[in-house]
């Protein structure tokens, strides 16, 4: 058997097809979910993909967060459904308060697209078991509003609980506090990050590296072994 992983398309989502492809490349079955869906079609996990949902108007993720599909998603995520938010998906998860903190405009005020070096800080979340803690990887990054901020209390708590999942290495591309590139919730089922693992699953394409594939194989293994 394989796992069915939902990919939500909001108006303005851009990486929905790529994310579905990445799921396929990893050997799982992608299931398209639409922002107006009122249920999750019994998927085993969900990815909120990158893009500019609703044009990123108001704030990135702010409008999408109120889509009908978010209701069952919030409910089931709290009950343990694995959810991965990539870039705009991460922003939606913070707007929905499923993950702490929020994203501001990049400190240099430009969109930035680059092959970004990261350290995997937490290899025990639902989406990272195929990495080892401390592993250094390269994943494409591309965003306008990627500066992760939270109050000092929250940041300390995240650090203390090992919930900083990924950190920028060598170069902080957007001014994120404590070089945070991604975080997880307490239970480890909900993970959000700014870089795009779905763009790093095939040799030749994009940066030509496959450092993003373990996200999708991690979740597949977890679901199949469950």
């Amino acid at each position: 058997m394989t796992a069915r992983i939902g990919v939500v398309t909001f108006p303005g989502s851009l990486d929905d097809r790529d994310t579905q492809r990445a799921i396929r490349v990893a050997g799982a079955e992608p299931v398209a979910l639409w922002h107006k869906d009122k249920d999750l079609k019994q998927v085993d996990a969900v990815v909120l993909c990158g893009g500019f949902s609703y044009g990123d108007y108001l704030r990135a993720g702010a409008i999408a967060r109120f889509s009908p599909v978010m209701e069952p998603l919030l409910e089931q995520a709290k009950a343990g459904l694995p959810v991965l938010g990539i870039c705009n998906g991460f922003q939606i998860l913070t707007e929905a308060h499923l993950l702490p903190g929020t994203m501001l405009r990049n400190d240099h005020l430009h969109f930035i697209c680059r092959d970004q070096k990261l350290r995997v800080e937490n290899a025990e979340t639902a989406w990272t078991t195929d990495y080892s803690a401390g592993q250094e990887i390269h994943i494409p990054l591309k965003n306008n509003d990627g500066q992760y901020v939270a109050d000092a209390y929250t940041l300390d708590k995240l650090e203390a609980e090992g919930r900083v999942a990924f950190r920028y290495l060598d170069f902080n591309p957007n001014g994120s506090q404590r070089d945070i590139a991604g975080v997880t919730n307490e239970a480890g089922n909900v993970v959000g990050l700014m870089p795009h693992p779905e763009h790093a699953v095939e040799p030749l394409i994009g940066t030509g590296r496959t450092d993003g594939l373990p996200f999708f194989t991690s979740i597949l293994k977890k679901l199949v072994n469950a």
Binding site: D15, F52, I112, I205
Partner: protein, 752 residues
């Protein structure tokens, strides 16, 4: 125009003496008289609005038409051509049932007035052309030209333009895979913002802009119509505007990339369900253009009720509605029984869609407002039978003086130290410096099919995941060469783009172009234009790459001073398997470097002459299209058969520029040996065309040399990939770190 009574056709016929502001709308006296003659009466206000925008330079190509015909007349036989010039964009067959459409357009004037929105809406416009052909847009490119790099206004224009292109393209989800950034004082008041897009479809999905089938409905969908850029098309393109007179500044259009993204998705969904008979995007001249073009390309007539157009501003007059250039709108022709489904899809995507009219079995375009008929015209007279000018042209008297001012006679570096300094100066000069400050503001990765993007010789996109079929595109233009010799300058632009495509391993197939020139009313400019078109058409014929479409931008001039003639050429190529693509970066130490082609003393218009001597004179490099073709064949075969691991074409800056770029990208140096028969200076800086540098694994050396020998391509071993310096033996060695600082530091420092 007075609103009472409504200026209907009837009213116009009854009041022949009413004076209309045809001159303010950009029409010439004889043009207005022609309208009266066509209609047999004075036009209504609405008709005048339509004729004036559609007969503007921008929409009618009235000055350029007589020359552009050569692209058709001299078009080479090509099996690949599916849709040629005249449609929204050309379409070429790339095999395996796929077709590709691509086109380059200009948004120069608006980008000077409002850099962000001007550039953003430029991307929006070209992408709608691609959707209108039935294709999914898959990539964009942006050839750009700005004034002097250190001019204060460049700091206003460039960051705005780049942010606008990125802001729009990134939000649409289109990878930006190529372009150009050129600085030259001649573009100070006239930056060139050209934007290109590529789309992919299956052959059977090709759609055309025509309204056929009486009773079929005309649906306007997308954004509401507002007062944006009214008259922009005619006023912007018909005369130079002078920035000392802000009152002449047109209302600019503001883009909404989110709306356009929805437009793409809902249009493609409608195509997939075969709901669309004909389709047209709304760009310059808005509804005037869309309705008259759809109607004149189809078999019947069209009746439109303007009251049904959804408005953002309820005070708009019918003339304004017809001229509005509000962005993110499309017009579809749909059979009556499919209208409901079409509207349903629009609703799914939150796109406003309204039936505004229908196809009739007559041959008139009739437009109604408040119950009165305000337009009754033969649509062909609006869309296709506009004025055609045979503008006078003459070789300017300064051309000989310019060509006689031979760059080959400029003082050359006398010592190794001087040579080295000039190399550093060259790679750090704004035109040769790394553009990554700019290109890192563009998404290269979205859609997950980007094989090559900046700073490769061409951008490359995979279009079939199973077979690896892909397409490549490069855009090039060199205004300095074209100024010295517009005929050969245009050919060099084509040759360079063609070579760039072949260097990555793709086979060049077809051409689109954007011809940026000064005022056609100046015979010298008109001569440059005529020569450039003739040169490009001749070269396309010889290289077997037909022109599938393009764009002309005239009046790029401030007062008497025109920009350099700047034909920008885009070449599209195809590669059977993207796994065989050749990158620019050096891959492995020890690989052998070969120079392909002949190096002559050619410094006219060169980067060296500009950077070291601030000089422009002499003749541009010699054009040898047969050589270009042979070089391309060798590069493509070598890539397909795995004989080379990296390749870089030689263009502005010459060999040293290319080697430095490959070295920095790969993080590996090179040891170079000046070949017999060449002096170090010529070897490093000459800009002879038809050349490339390739890195050959030692195991392939014999095979590669044999292939070149058998086909008669001159090939010279010039060194080896090695170490962490670029070492020109007997002359100097420059550490990569120093080169990197020079090459990558310039643009950020200028724009900080």
């Amino acid at each position: 125009m007075s609103r009472t009574p409504l200026d209907t056709v009837e009213h116009a016929a009854a009041t022949p003496d009413v004076e209309l502001p045809w001159a303010e709308l950009g029409l010439k006296k004889d043009e207005y008289e022609r309208v009266v003659e066509i209609l047999g009466r004075r036009p209504t206000g609405a008709e005048l609005a339509m004729y004036s925008v559609m007969w503007s330079e921008h929409c009618s190509y009235k000055s350029s038409k007589v020359h552009l015909r050569q692209f058709g007349e001299k078009a080479p036989e090509s099996d690949a051509m599916l849709v040629g010039i005249g449609e929204n964009a050309g379409v070429v067959d790339v095999g395996q049932g796929y077709a590709v459409t691509f086109k380059v357009e200009s948004h120069n004037h608006p980008s000077y007035v409002e850099p962000y929105q001007g550039a953003a809406t430029g991307v929006g416009g070209i992408v709608r052309d691609i959707i209108a052909m039935g294709a999914r847009p898959v990539a964009v490119v942006d050839p750009l030209r700005f004034g002097a790099a250190d001019h204060p206004d460049t700091k206003r224009v460039l960051p705005g333009v780049v942010a606008g292109i990125g802001g729009y393209g990134n939000c649409l989800g289109l990878p930006n895979i190529g372009g150009e950034v050129v600085f030259d004082a001649c573009y100070q008041g006239n930056p060139l913002v050209n934007a290109g897009a590529i789309g992919v479809m299956r052959h059977e999905d090709i759609h055309l802009a025509k309204a056929s089938g009486a009773g079929n409905k005309v649906i306007l969908y997308g954004a509401r119509t507002g007062g944006d850029g009214i008259g922009g098309a005619s006023i912007l393109a018909s005369e130079t505007f002078d920035d000392a007179k802000p009152s002449k500044r047109p209302a600019v259009q503001v883009g909404d990339p989110f709306q356009e993204k929805l437009l793409i998705e809902c249009t493609l969904e409608a195509f997939a369900e075969k709901l669309v008979v004909g389709i047209q995007d709304l760009g310059a001249a808005g509804l005037s253009c869309a309705t008259s073009e759809l109607a004149s390309n189809g078999s019947g007539g069209m009746r439109v009720t303007l009251d049904d157009v959804p408005l953002r501003d309820s005070t708009l007059s019918p003339e304004e509605i017809l001229m509005s250039e509000s962005q993110e709108r499309m017009c579809a022709v749909v059979e009556p029984e499919k209208v409901d489904r079409f509207l349903e899809i629009c609703e799914k995507w939150d796109v406003i869609a309204t039936v505004i009219g229908e196809v009739t079995d007559g041959d008139r375009l009739e437009i109604y407002w408040h119950g009165g008929k305000i337009v009754d015209v033969d649509p062909r007279t609006v869309a296709h039978e506009g004025p055609v000018y045979e503008r006078p042209y003459a070789r300017p008297d300064w051309q000989d003086t310019l060509q006689a001012d031979d760059a080959n006679k400029l003082p050359r570096p006398e010592t190794s130290e001087e040579l080295k300094d000039q190399v550093l100066k060259l790679v750090a000069s704004p035109n040769q410096a790394s553009k990554s400050w700019i290109t890192s503001q563009y998404d290269h990765f979205v859609q997950g099919n980007t094989v090559l993007a900046q700073p490769e010789d061409s951008g490359m996109i995979r279009i079939d995941e199973e077979t690896g079929l892909g397409v490549a595109i490069a855009t090039d233009g060199n205004g300095r060469y074209a100024k010295l010799d517009p005929y050969h300058g245009a050919q060099l632009a084509l040759a360079e783009a063609y070579r760039n495509v072949a260097t990555t391993g793709a086979k060049p197939l077809a051409v689109s172009d954007c011809l940026n020139f000064g005022s056609p009313e100046d015979p010298a400019v008109m001569w440059q234009f005529a020569e450039a078109v003739r040169g490009l058409a001749d070269a396309c014929q010889q290289l077997g790459t037909p022109v599938t479409g393009g764009n002309v931008s005239l009046y790029n001039q401030t007062g008497e001073a025109a920009i350099h003639p700047t034909p920008v050429v885009a070449v599209l190529g195809v590669i059977d398997d993207v796994a065989r693509r050749t990158p620019v970066a050096f891959q492995e130490e020890g690989q052998l470097l070969y120079l392909l082609g002949d190096t002559r003393e050619e410094f006219g218009g060169s980067a060296w002459s500009q950077v070291v001597h601030d000089h422009l004179g002499g003749l541009p490099p010699r054009v040898d299209l047969e050589r270009e073709r042979l070089l391309a064949e060798i590069l493509i075969s070598a890539s397909r058969d795995g004989m080379i691991d990296s390749a870089h074409d030689l263009s502005d800056g010459g060999l040293i520029q290319a080697v430095v770029e490959s070295a920095l990208l790969g993080g590996k140096g090179a040891r170079l040996i000046v070949p017999d028969g060449l002096d170090a200076f010529t070897f490093l800086f000459s800009e002879s065309a038809g050349r490339a540098v390739v890195a050959v694994p030692r195991s392939e050396e014999v095979r590669f040399n044999d292939m070149c020998g058998a086909r008669g391509l001159p090939v010279t071993r010039i060194g080896v990939v090695d170490g962490d310096t670029v070492d020109v033996q007997g002359e100097f060695a420059l550490p990569l770190s120093e080169l990197r600082e020079a090459h990558e530091g310039t643009i950020p420092a200028l724009l900080k």
